[in-house]
Symmetry: C2
Subunit: 416 residues, 2 copies
């Protein structure tokens, strides 16, 4: 079974907007055993839309149209799909009433063009829209012309996702051959994508029944997406788990997530387990590390806070770094990184203290201390570990690399 | 003139990856007066690729293929486009030599499959790839079958962008009718998208020669993209500027950028102009404000640093908030926000101090202090301004709203 996903709307053909709904739909269709063969974006022109629908119906078993279901003249999806199928549109009185009630409940009068949203293609199931005004439609064709499933969904992501999950999935599960699919996502830290692929390739090639995709995440993160199908979920899960274990053996403690968790979630999880707390003093990352850690709900249990010490005076004032250390070794040095970690730990009274100092660029580099040079320190009161790295990329990527390195040091310390 | 952009690669039909090159190409094509009518994503299957090429050549004047130019068996773009056009592929000796030299310079031996990258469609210009191995191709057809431009580009964004700008743009400028296009992007702060549209609609509708697109940026930012075409660049610019001025009159000091600048760039610009400095004490935003400010290169001139005061003890320890104030009013209160701003300003010896405290959720809300409630304070040593807001959305959006509000307070103070 294969699918085509069609996004409709001239705004999706500008430089400012793009279809992202199709990623959600692709994940859901794959889980049902349906591969996506084509994705198409088309504007609000009748002729373009009809020809797109015609082409899609000829080459895909499942065709999903997204958008163009609203009340305006530009919303042509209903009409064009009906024309392509050679079917009629009928205005449903109940939907018109629902629309009127929806407007009335907000104290608005409904303009007549809104009634177009109640036009239903002959033979289609109406998909109720609990989060917006335009209903969707579900058409199952099974006749001498063949077998096809055609779905019309509204464009706004929260309307589309809810409608698909609540009303399309159950219908598709009934209509499509039953398959069981298991998936897992492993992540490794601080290894390059090509090196990760080189080491992983002999392993995943020995497991041809598992589909493996290797992707570079944010700097310092490589993802292994594993997916297997089988008659039973148990068998599919076993295939995925066997490969996952083999990859974990190869990458050992570089594997930080075995089910798609983020680095900051994992670090939070370990800190919580150990009832440990953390504080950070950041120079070149300028708050990015704290921002990542506090993006996790509940992080206040283990992250007390810290300082952004961009200016050298603040390295002393907020993190207690002796000014003489900065004068002697420079702000970007292993000595200052260690003093930041130790100072912020003492000041914040935490189990661990992190210090980061480096040169994010584009300016400020020298031959001795080039752009990309970063010192990361982790202090626990007994000893202080410092890692020096030279990261590639632009300002943003260097800062992301540095936060990942620092988080990975905390993770390794807590695991060890 | 219209275009179709085709992205090739089975990985672009998974839930994990999407084509983003087409946004860049759309912007460039629009500047040349070419509208994009269709975008298609197709996998690495020969039959699918040939049918996609056939359909595109029938409906578009300019067809751009991206990806599938590498050395592997899966890289079929050259062959399939040649087949569709009824032309031959010829292996170019000079390109083979260039490829060999490229490998040799890295001390590698080139495997034979790499030679496939030297296969050129009859009549095509070779587009040299300075950043990768696969060259592109540019074909201009002007015969009894009509007029068409066909471009083959490599998939990696940095290779594609450089090749298009350096080698395709000059060719297209020669082949396409000359047009002048002017564009501007205004941004307004802390106004909702629908309200912004309501106020702007009567104005931009009175300027039908300027194409206007309204987009919601990150929380607290709405963008007006203006674009006009005319015989002369002067005339196009005048049309855009006239509408921009009318919108600036309507939105007054809510307009923070008149040429697409980010809020953090604008705040940095104003601080630099006034030789003023800034420090921040953040609770619920957890470093996000500092991260935004320091994402701007050169921000060390005006941003000295600050504190992330997640834990209440740190609000006192790092930002000098009296513990009694927290006990009396709660950590999320206008009093504590003001004390954070004043305390961090004193501690960091800056012109301005910002304090942010609120409830980002999902937990921690109450009837009196719900999730989304945030207090923002700005202190300058003479007086302290506090703004209380209740933001919608999830944890991430609430934090983004709060940083935007705080930056906007600094901007308004510096303008006033």
């Amino acid at each position: 079974m294969n699918a085509e996903i069609i996004a409709i709307g001239s705004e999706l053909l500008t430089p400012h907007r793009m279809d992202t709904n199709s990623l959600f739909l692709t994940a859901k269709l794959n889980e049902l055993g349906v591969e996506v063969s084509f994705k198409t974006v088309v504007g609000d022109r009748r002729a373009d839309l009809v020809s797109t629908a015609r082409i899609a119906l000829a080459r895909a078993d499942v065709v999903i149209f997204m958008g163009g279901l609203g009340p305006t003249e530009d919303d042509l999806t209903r009409e064009c799909v009906a024309e392509t199928l050679g079917r009629k549109l009928q205005r449903h009185a109940r939907i018109v009433e629902d629309l009127r009630a929806r407007f009335a409940s907000r104290g608005w009068k409904m303009s007549e063009n809104n009634e177009r949203q109640a036009d239903v293609i002959t033979g289609a199931d109406v998909l109720e829209n609990k989060r917006g005004s335009a209903p969707g439609q579900f058409i199952h064709i099974n006749d001498e012309n063949g077998n096809a499933i055609i779905i019309l969904l509204p464009g706004p992501p929260h309307e589309l996702k809810a409608m698909f999950e609540e009303q399309c999935l159950p219908r598709l599960q009934t209509l499509l051959p039953r398959q069981s699919i298991a998936a897992r996502e492993l992540k490794v830290a601080m290894i390059g994508e090509s090196m990760a692929d080189k080491r992983a390739a002999p392993i995943y090639k020995a497991h041809p029944l598992v589909e493996t995709t290797i992707l570079a995440g944010s700097p310092g993160e490589v993802q292994f997406h594993l997916r297997a199908r089988a008659e039973s979920l148990e068998e599919a899960q076993k295939r995925v788990d066997t490969l996952a274990t083999a990859l974990e053996d190869e990458f050992d403690d570089a594997v930080f997530a075995s089910n798609g968790e983020s680095m900051e979630q994992i670090v939070g999880y370990y800190l919580g387990m150990r009832s440990a707390t953390l504080a950070a003093a950041e120079s070149c990352t300028g708050g990015m590390l704290a921002e990542r850690i506090t993006s996790v709900p509940g992080s206040s249990r283990y992250f007390l806070g810290g300082a952004v010490v961009y200016d050298n005076s603040l390295k002393s004032e907020l993190a207690g770094v002796p000014a003489i250390l900065i004068a002697e070794h420079g702000a970007v040095s292993s000595q200052v990184a260690a003093a930041l970690a130790e100072g912020i730990r003492t000041r914040c009274k935490t189990t661990f203290g992190i210090g980061i100092t480096g040169i994010a660029g584009p300016g400020g580099g020298s031959e001795e201390k080039p752009v990309g040079l970063v010192f990361h320190a982790l202090a626990n009161g007994k000893n202080t570990e410092v890692v020096e790295r030279k990261f590639p990329g632009d300002r943003d990527r260097i800062r992301q690399w540095a936060t990942q390195q620092a988080l990975d040091m905390v993770r390794r310390k807590l695991m060890g």
